[in-house]
Amino acid sequence: MNLFLTVIRRELLIAYRNAADLLNPLLFFVIVISLFPLGISPSESVLRQVGPGIIWVAALLSTLLSMDLLFRSDYDDGSLEQMTFSQAPFLLLVLGKIVSHWLVTGLPLTLLSPLLALMLFMNETGARALFLSLLIGTPILSLLGAIGASLTVGLRKGGLLIAVLILPLFVPVLILATAMVQTGMQAGNYTGHMLWLGAILALSIGLAPLATALGVKISLSH
C-alpha cells in the first residue's frame, strides 16, 4: 500500500511540474465541445438532444490524447524498465500509474462537467447524471486506455494506433453513459445504468491492470 501511494505521489509530482501536458487534454475537451454548437446549431432544443453524446465523445477523445503520457516518458528514460526489475509487484505499480492518470485527467474533466452541462442547456437532473456518469465512466476509460498505451509504447507512431485499438472497446461505456444522462435529463431513474457502469468498472479494475502489465513487459522486450 505504501508503494502504491509512493507511485501516485511521484506521478502527481511529475504531472504538477509539467502542468501544460495536463491542461492540453482538458482544453481540447472544452474546445471540441464548444465547436459543436457552431457546427450543428446553437438552438437549445437541438443541443439538449445531442449534448450527452457530444460531451461523452469529447471525453473519450481527450482521454485517448492523454493516454500517450502514461508510459511514454518513463519508457524513454528507462525508468519503466527499472520498475519491472523491482521486487515490488509490478501490477501494483501499473495500477498506481493508472489511478494517478485518472486523478489528473478524468477527475478534472468530471469536475468541469457542470459548466459544460450549462453550456449545452442541460437541466439540473441531467447535469447530475452527467457528473455521476463521468465519475464512474472515466476511470474505465483510463483503465482500458492503459492497455492500448502499454502495447504501443515502444512504437514511434503509437498515438493514432491507440485510437484504433481502444476506441471499439469504449463502445459499451459510451452507450451506457449517454443513455444514463438522457434518462437523467428526463428526470428518470438511472440507477440501473449506474450499476451497469459500476459492474464494467469493477471488471476493468480486475482485468485491465493484468493486461497492461503484460503489455508493458512485451513492449520492453523489443
Binding site: 492497455i147 471499439p168 522486450s221
Partner: protein
C-alpha cells in the same frame, strides 16, 4: 488371501495410472509433433486437397440449391436468397474471432509458434468475412428495410467486430519485432474477446431502449426444411472454405518464417 488381493488391486491401480500416463504422454507427444511447423506443413499438405474439394462441392451445391431450387420467401420474394451468403458469413465472422482468441491464448500460455502463425493468418480472413457479412447485410437491407444501413443491434455489433479485427491487424503491422508483435496481438485479441459479449449486450440493450419496432433478420420465424437445408450446406461450405484458406495462409507463413531451415531449402530446391 487378502494380501494377494490387495496386491492385485494395487498392481491394477499402478497399471491404470501407468496407462493414463502413457496416453497422456502420447497426447503430448502428438501435440508437440503436430505443433512443430514442419509436421503441420506435411499434415496440412495431405489434408488440404480434401478440404478444398469438399469446400467447392458444398459451396456449389448449397449455392445452386439455395439460389435456384429453394422456395422464395413468402414476404420478401427472391431478395431473401442473399441469406444463403449473408447468414453463413455472419456466423463465421463471430466464430472466427473466437478461433483467433483461442489461438492467442494457446500462444500466450504455451508459446507455441504455430499458434502465433495461426493468429496472424486468421485476422485478415476474419476481417474479410466480417466485411462480407456487413456488405451482404446492407444489400439485403435495401429491398427489405428500404435503406442500406440501419443502426440495428446486430449490424452495429458486427461493425464493432470489424473494428476489433482491424485493430489486431494494425497492431501487428506496426510492430517490427515478430516475437513482440505476436505476443502483443495475442493480448489484444484476448482483451477483445472479454469485451465482445459486453459490447454485444450493451448494443442490444441500447437498441431496445431507442427503437420500439424491431426488425427481425429472417422474415419467417420458422423456416421450412427446403430453406434451412441449403442454408446449412452453405454454412458447412463456408467453414470448409475458411479452413482451406486458413491452412493455405499458415503454410505460406511457415515457409516464409522457416526459410533458413534445411527442410524448406530441400523442399524449394526439389531435392
Amino acid at each position: 488371501m487378502t494380501k494377494v488381493a490387495a496386491a492385485g488391486v494395487c498392481r491394477q491401480r499402478v497399471n491404470g495410472s501407468i496407462h493414463v500416463q502413457k496416453v497422456n504422454n502420447l497426447v503430448w507427444h502428438w501435440f508437440h509433433r503436430l505443433s512443430a511447423p514442419k509436421s503441420f506443413f506435411e499434415l496440412s499438405g495431405k489434408l488440404l486437397p480434401w478440404f478444398a474439394v469438399l469446400a467447392v462441392l458444398t459451396l456449389v451445391l448449397g449455392a445452386v440449391w439455395g439460389l435456384a431450387f429453394a422456395p422464395p420467401d413468402y414476404q420478401q420474394g427472391n431478395s431473401a436468397r442473399i441469406m444463403y451468403v449473408h447468414v453463413p458469413a455472419a456466423i463465421l465472422a463471430q466464430s472466427s474471432y473466437m478461433m483467433m482468441a483461442a489461438a492467442a491464448l494457446v500462444f500466450l500460455v504455451w508459446r507455441i509458434k504455430l499458434a502465433d502463425i495461426a493468429v496472424q493468418c486468421v485476422a485478415p480472413l476474419g476481417a474479410s468475412i466480417t466485411f462480407l457479412a456487413l456488405v451482404t447485410g446492407a444489400i439485403w437491407g435495401k429491398p427489405t428495410w428500404g435503406t442500406w444501413w440501419i443502426w440495428d443491434a446486430r449490424l452495429t455489433s458486427t461493425l464493432v467486430l470489424f473494428f476489433l479485427f482491424a485493430g489486431v491487424i494494425a497492431l501487428r503491422s506496426a510492430m517490427e519485432n515478430r516475437e513482440a508483435a505476436g505476443r502483443a496481438t495475442a493480448v489484444l485479441a484476448l482483451v477483445g474477446v472479454v469485451n465482445l459479449p459486453i459490447i454485444k449486450y450493451s448494443v442490444d440493450w441500447w437498441f431496445t431502449l431507442h427503437q420500439s419496432s424491431s426488425f427481425s433478420m429472417t422474415a419467417k420465424p420458422t423456416m421450412p426444411a427446403e430453406m434451412w437445408l441449403p442454408l446449412l450446406v452453405m454454412v458447412v461450405g463456408f467453414y470448409l472454405f475458411f479452413a482451406t484458406a486458413w491452412m493455405l495462409r499458415i503454410r505460406t507463413e511457415i515457409l516464409q518464417r522457416e526459410i533458413r531451415t534445411q527442410w524448406v531449402r530441400d523442399l524449394v530446391s526439389g531435392r
